[in-house]
């Protein structure tokens, strides 16, 4: 029975592939850093891809390649996608930046969109979400939930996007709890469940009772659950299977509206190289349900902060803020510029340890 289904599926796939040559469909490609079933980052991008399929129906065909290593292999995969006839390609990890630019140079008629990077070209747009807005909420809750005053943070790679998250979470944890400390462990991977679980376990053994993660799998959630009294937050996806505890809230990336709008632009011929950086106000970042494990007054103040960010009244990086080395970064009331944030390579005052260079 299953085998028959498999055969039928292959038949359909072949029919689709040959159909693509016959009609003038728009083909949209996606390059993923992890498997679509990671339950986090790639899972949400793939939900965006499915939304594109559902929205355009027969007018658009999507293709994707998952678990593509960041590096030379990415260039091969992207080139292959172009040769298969993709009109628009989303490369969804920081490490695909140079590969995307290189392939784009060779194929000026194909449109490219690179997530979380900073290099653009006439046919390469960039897009990113303001995850640090969500990190502010997490820090706000974490600072009040911790009893040991040690918050563990699993970093992936020391790139600006991750450092923004650490700084944002720390600033808002310190704001509500002057004794809180952050311990950062760099996993040097986006997705390796065993290593992520190990990092979480190590942090818990060293006294952390809140774990924040900037890696893509749900393994740290499971490690926290096994430990019993450790709080976590969903990363990139809701990870609601670990609610109401240990996962007490989450940052959810919603790429679907952006993917649909950009695909529409290619169909209409209005696509231009743009630089999009949206957050909570635009809906690209949303905050998953804050569960009943969080005290009511903490939940209320967290929700007030979400509302203030959504209304544009509050920026998570508002002065006075000092760098780790003691120099002044932002004066009282000053708001960080996007340029500062996109190149962020320093910790704010109070964080310990060095950023690997």
């Amino acid at each position: 029975m299953k085998f028959k289904k498999l055969l039928a599926g292959t038949g359909i796939a072949l029919a689709l592939a040959t159909g693509a040559f016959a009609q003038d469909k728009t083909t949209v490609g996606f390059v993923y850093v992890g498997p679509v079933g990671d339950g986090g980052w790639t899972y949400e991008h793939d939900k965006g891809r499915q939304a594109v399929e559902a929205h355009f129906g027969d007018a658009v065909e999507t293709v994707f390649v998952e678990s593509v290593p960041e590096g030379p292999d990415a260039e091969r995969v992207i080139t292959q996608m172009v040769l298969q006839g993709a009109d628009l390609i989303f490369t969804t990890s920081f490490g695909y930046m140079d590969a995307t630019i290189n392939v784009a140079e060779r194929f000026p008629d194909v449109k490219f969109e690179h997530a979380t990077g900073y290099k653009t070209a006439d046919n390469v747009a960039i897009y990113n979400a303001r995850f640090y807005e969500g990190r502010a909420i997490q820090g706000h809750i974490a600072g009040q939930m911790t009893e040991s005053n040690i918050v563990g943070y699993i970093g992936s790679y020391p790139i600006p996007e991750v450092i923004q998250g650490i700084n944002s979470a720390f600033i808002h944890a310190r704001e509500v709890n002057p004794d809180v400390e952050f311990r950062v462990v760099w996993a040097y991977t986006w997705f390796d469940p065993a290593k992520e679980a190990e990092a979480a376990t190590v942090l818990i053994e060293q006294g952390a009772d809140v774990i924040l993660q900037h890696t893509d799998s749900t393994a740290p959630q499971a490690a926290a659950q096994a430990a019993g009294n450790v709080v976590t937050f969903g990363q990139a996806s809701d990870m609601s299977e670990f609610a109401p505890f240990p996962r007490v809230s989450s940052i959810i990336d919603d790429w679907a509206p952006y993917y649909i709008a950009r695909t529409q632009a290619v169909i209409d011929g209005t696509w231009e190289s743009t630089d999009t950086w949206d957050g909570i106000p635009e809906g690209m970042v949303s905050i998953g349900e804050i569960t009943e494990a969080v005290p009511a007054e903490v939940k209320a103040s967290a929700e007030a902060m979400i509302a203030a960010i959504r209304a544009g009244e509050y920026h998570p990086f508002t002065g006075p803020l000092t760098r780790q080395d003691g120099s002044v970064w932002l004066a009282d009331g000053e708001v960080a510029s996007d340029g500062d944030l996109l190149g962020m390579n320093f910790y704010v005052e109070g964080l310990t340890g060095d950023i690997p260079q």
């Binding site: 020391p158 040097y188 469940p193 499971a222």
Partner: protein
Amino acid sequence: MMDLSAINPILLLASLMVAATPILLAAIGELVVERAGVLNLGVEGMMITGAVCGFIVTINAGSPLLGFAGAALGGALLALVFGVLTQVLLSNQVATGLALTLFGLGFAALLGQGYIGIKAPVIPKWPVPVLSDIPVIGPILFNHDPVVYLGIAIIASVWAFLGYSRAGLILRAVGENHDAAHALGYHVIRVRLLAIMFGGACAGLGGAYLSLVRVPQWTEGLTAGAGWIALAIVVFASWRPWRLLLGAYLFGGVTVLQLNLQAAGMAIPVAYLSMAPYLATILVLVMMRAGRAPGSLAQSFHASR
């Protein structure tokens, strides 16, 4: 700004044994396969198939014990595919092994479709009576889940089997010179098929240890390269069981240690800490006089040649 007192050496050593177990299980299986003269590069594929099979059986049967049995069976069956292709149909072992890894990764993702986000039952620890109460040594060595002990037991059995049993001698003969073994009347292909299935079963157990104990959940790509590390450890351990145990513990230990040092704020660049497990394992195992590969490793055998 370093706070080494935050590192608890007892917890560190205990988690070393846990961290090393998946690699150790996969590597000891591959060691037997290679001693029989077969190079199976499909360890990663068999591990992840074992991981998903173990997870599915555990969820449906509610018993982690059955889960591990299912994982071993799943790994062994996948290995049998490799065995039939390379031993009976005489396909190239390197190419077939690589294909097995790719197939295993995709096949596991397919099987695991409905199991993402489901939680597995917790496997209780099995403290060894009396011994686990010894201070310091007790919590390090004798307070683990049963699979950690099983891993060590398999190492010891393989060592005894290869070195001190007639069957082990035949297996080594097949691996060193399959033509001579054949001339003596031993059934080369049968021995190799059994070794390949044992290797698959061990890799499956290692995978299931990840999905049921170490991580514990199912996500695609769960093994994330552990199978390749197991393969490398077999070579660096020069095909000897106890060296393999040392290599796996060293790798697991330095992995856990470097995370601990990072969390404690050690002033060593993280890039060095991250490469430390690989460097330390290779250095130590290479310095201990390198061994010789089995004579017939990766060569196809046919009685007519």
